[in-house]
Amino acid sequence: MTAQPLSFDPYNLIITGVGGQGNVLASRLLGRMLVVQDYYVTIGETFGASQRGGSVMSHLRISTRRAWSPQIPHGRAHMVIAIEPSEAFRVLAVYGNPEVQLIWNTRPIHPVSVITGQAVYPSLEEIAQGLNELSARNWRLEATAQAQIMGNPILGNIMMVGALSAVSDLPLGPEIFEKAIAEMMPPAKVPINLEAFAWGRTAIT
């Protein structure tokens, strides 16, 4: 099999959120779905003590040609997935550009600076307006709310992956997803993840 050409090569994707939201799992899942289709995938991420409750970010470089650096050069992201909305701004300030696209989850996780009252968390309207300004196109998802209905807020990350599969030209169809998730999860957890993926795919359109 030969990898199909991409709209951008390398295609630069960033997944951001807060430690504990399933960033790493989402990036590895996407990587797995693409490597089996003969793409070169490089994933850069940081995890460890400094990420506890802190901002986290995974960089994915997807290419038909070769391995790229695990860090995307500044201003060169093509797509940003923000599992936590305010984190989108932190990422766009460094990696954004006028053409960037964005998928964002509406559910905030308040940083300690907001809990203590030293800082204020922006309203949903302010967030939406700011993200409109900073992206060529963006899609919002009430992923955490739906994930809570489905029984576990962590499913939000899989919903975001489902949404990505619907709006990007990356080959991330349901069959590829099902195969990858079955390899990564115990069988009992597969159906709920399929459901989350399908919800993300339809919710975005």
Partner: protein
């Protein structure tokens, strides 16, 4: 079972650098693996521990890195390929043994893997262990991509056997914790080492017979052994002259030659592509960075007028390449060298494609490849107003938050300017706001107790502040025990608080000598911290940090006790521990009528000071709420609220 152990030869897998290293070791037929957890190294041992039974390995989380290196060395001495794994600071701990090990040499292939953390992403320093290879005279190799992480890990065992000495294999965070495509090789059949089916330690030969004599370093043999060691280094240097892991891409006579290694190779490739310099700039990637191969370097150095050395860490390569260049004599002439020491690269912090591209553009007088300035300015403005600062913090339900709350409160009530000395673990965050800035010293593993032991002897100089130290349970075994022995024997006036959360939490919950399992989950006896302390003759009190009122009183009583060492063990499992994860003990609720918030005498103690991420402060409604997505139901905030507005209900 992961692809690391099941993947077939020729298959392409997406592997994290650490898993690629583990796979390389399996392809080389490693048999004994030991080390101590530390980000970004921990996954290597964990991955191998998970497949140890299937592949007939012995994998151990050792008490500390020095012991880990010694345990692995015994494997090599007994004709088993062996590996020790640690992070950069661990090499310091292991370094005393390492000096002796390298002087005598090894038998079956022996690799020391060090995973380092330029930029201190998960460390308190930017330690660069490559200097040990030069200082202690053994070879150093560094993979430049994920494929090489696997291939060079496997090859390092062969190299070690060729020269009969330890080989240092150095990775960095952006290699160890990044992932990429790796084409797998063949797993080794279950060998017990070169030419032998049974582990056996030979010691009957002559003292200088490296394969059959006693393995000793000894005053009378220093000169002759040191010479033998240098011959091994010379052999490595010759092998490196033609190593396929040293590669060159670019024109025959480049305008500028980049010499690079490790993850900086990936950044250099990216920077060349960003600036479109493929025809002007040459890229010499060194996989073997000590000893440097002089003929290979001379050839490339002579072919270019400018040299740019790009590396992760201190200017190690930069200094050594320049030294080698001067050794070539007058015929080499002079030429400008660029790097971290002479600029334009920053002397500190990790590199990335942008830092390298900026440096490259500066040297060649090109415009910097900067993103759209108008966009960037606006995005920065919005990030400032819309992305409130997110400091690192203890997890919701973390026992350390409660423990520091209690220590802080007890020291304030005691009112004698007492303070706490700390060290390395999640509990290092006691330095910052989430730990109420309780820690006033913090250095290496176990240093809290050692430093407190010193403070505890200053009373003859008029020192009258109460001194406390904190230690994690894994750190207790790693480095606190000798410091505690010192404090007890010298009768230091101090309180040691062992914050026992039942595992090596910070690095992913590895077992340690105080837990009941081995690295692969098998049963082992646990050593009891309280009984160890008691055997040293110390008074020990055990308490639960979640029982806040009782434990605070215990702390105050201990502070009131006269002189000598007192130990308090605060026992409560980590919120992420396998025994707790996903299980909620209490459902937490806030009674909105009872919560007086800013009008309360406490002035929002729960959100303003305690600051657990599971709480929400609603500034419009002026009420505290529980974030049901984040809260894990530890119940501690209910104990803090003075009006009883926060209540806990046991989950059925």
């Amino acid at each position: 079972m992961s692809i690391v152990s099941t993947g077939a030869k020729g298959q392409t897998a997406l592997l994290m650098g650490n898993d690629a290293i583990a796979r390389g070791a399996l392809e080389a037929g490693v048999r004994v693996v030991a080390g101590y957890p530390g980000t970004p190294s921990s996954e290597i041992i964990q991955t191998l521990a998970n497949v140890a039974t299937d592949h007939g390995l012995y994998v151990e989380w050792s008490a500390n890195e020095k012991v880990g290196l010694e345990v692995a060395a015994a494997g090599s001495f007994s004709q088993l390929r062996s590996m020790a794994v640690m992070k950069q600071v661990g090499v310091n701990v292991a370094s005393d043994f390492l000096l002796h090990l390298a002087e005598y040499g090894t038998r079956a292939g022996f690799v020391l893997v060090t995973c380092e953390d330029p930029g201190g992403l998960s460390s308190t320093n930017e330690g660069d262990s490559r200097h040990y290879a030069k200082m202690m005279e053994f070879p150093l190799v560094e993979p430049g991509n994920f494929q090489e992480a696997k291939d060079m890990a496997a090859w390092s065992f062969e190299l070690s056997e060729k020269i009969r000495n330890v080989v240092m294999f150095r990775s960095v965070t952006r290699m160890s914790h990044a992932s990429g495509n790796v084409v797998l090789g063949e797993l080794s059949p279950h060998l017990t080492g070169p030419g032998s089916s049974k582990a056996r330690f030979q010691f009957d030969g002559d003292m200088m017979d490296q394969m059959e004599g006693p393995v000793v370093t000894f005053p009378g043999t220093v000169d002759v052994m040191h010479r033998r060691q240098l011959e091994k280094l010379e052999m490595a240097r010759e092998i490196f002259e033609t190593s396929p892991f040293n590669t060159y891409t670019g024109p025959d006579r480049p305008e500028l030659l980049i010499i690079t290694s490790s993850a900086a190779y990936l950044y250099s490739q990216e920077a060349i592509a960003l600036l479109g310099l493929e025809k002007r700039v040459g890229l010499l990637k060194l996989g073997t960075t000590w000893p440097l191969p002089p003929r290979l370097l001379a050839k490339h150095l002579k072919a270019s007028e400018k040299i740019f050395i790009i590396e992760e860490g201190m200017p190690f390569l930069e200094d050594n390449v320049k030294a080698l260049w001067t050794e070539l004599g007058p015929e080499a002439g002079t030429k400008p060298f660029f790097g971290r020491k002479l600029g334009p690269l920053p002397p500190t912090n990790e590199l990335n494609p942008d830092r390298v591209a900026l440096g490259l553009a500066e040297i060649l007088g090109l415009p910097a490849p900067l993103p759209d300035p108008a966009y960037r300015e606006r995005a920065n403005e919005l990030a400032k107003s819309h992305a409130p600062f997110r400091a690192m913090t203890f997890c919701p339900g973390c026992p350390h938050r409660a423990s520091y709350w209690l220590m802080n409160s007890a020291l304030k009530q005691d009112n004698r300017d007492g303070f706490v000395c700390g060290d390395i673990g999640c509990y290092t965050m006691g330095v910052i706001g989430c730990g109420f800035n309780t820690l006033k010293t913090s250095h290496a593993m176990g240093s809290g107790t050692g430093v407190a032991s010193g403070f505890g002897k200053l009373n003859r100089f008029g020192f009258d502040q109460p001194v406390m130290a904190v230690s994690g349970d894994s750190t207790f075994f790693h480095a606190v025990m000798p410091a505690l022995v010192n404090a007890v024997h010298n009768q230091a006036d101090m309180i040691l608080v062992v914050m026992d959360n039942s595992g090596t939490a910070m690095t992913g919950f590895q077992p340690h000598p105080g837990t009941l399992t081995d690295a692969g989950g098998g049963a082992l006896p646990a050593l009891n911290i309280a009984r160890i302390c008691e055997a040293m003759g110390v008074k020990v009190v055990i308490a639960d940090p979640f029982e806040m009122a009782a434990t605070e009183k215990t702390l105050l009583d201990l502070l009131d006790e006269p002189g000598g060492v007192r130990v308090l063990i605060l026992r409560q499992a980590c919120a992420l521990s396998p025994s707790k994860k996903g299980k909620r003990q209490f459902d937490m609720t806030v009674d909105e009528l009872a919560c007086l918030a800013e009008d309360c005498g406490c002035n929002r103690l729960c959100t303003r000071i305690f600051g657990c991420p599971g709480l929400i402060w609603d500034p419009k409604a002026k009420k505290t709420r529980i974030d049901e997505v984040i809260c894990v139901g530890c119940g501690v905030c209910a104990a803090i609220c003075p009006t009883g507005a926060i209540s806990r209900k046991e989950v059925a």
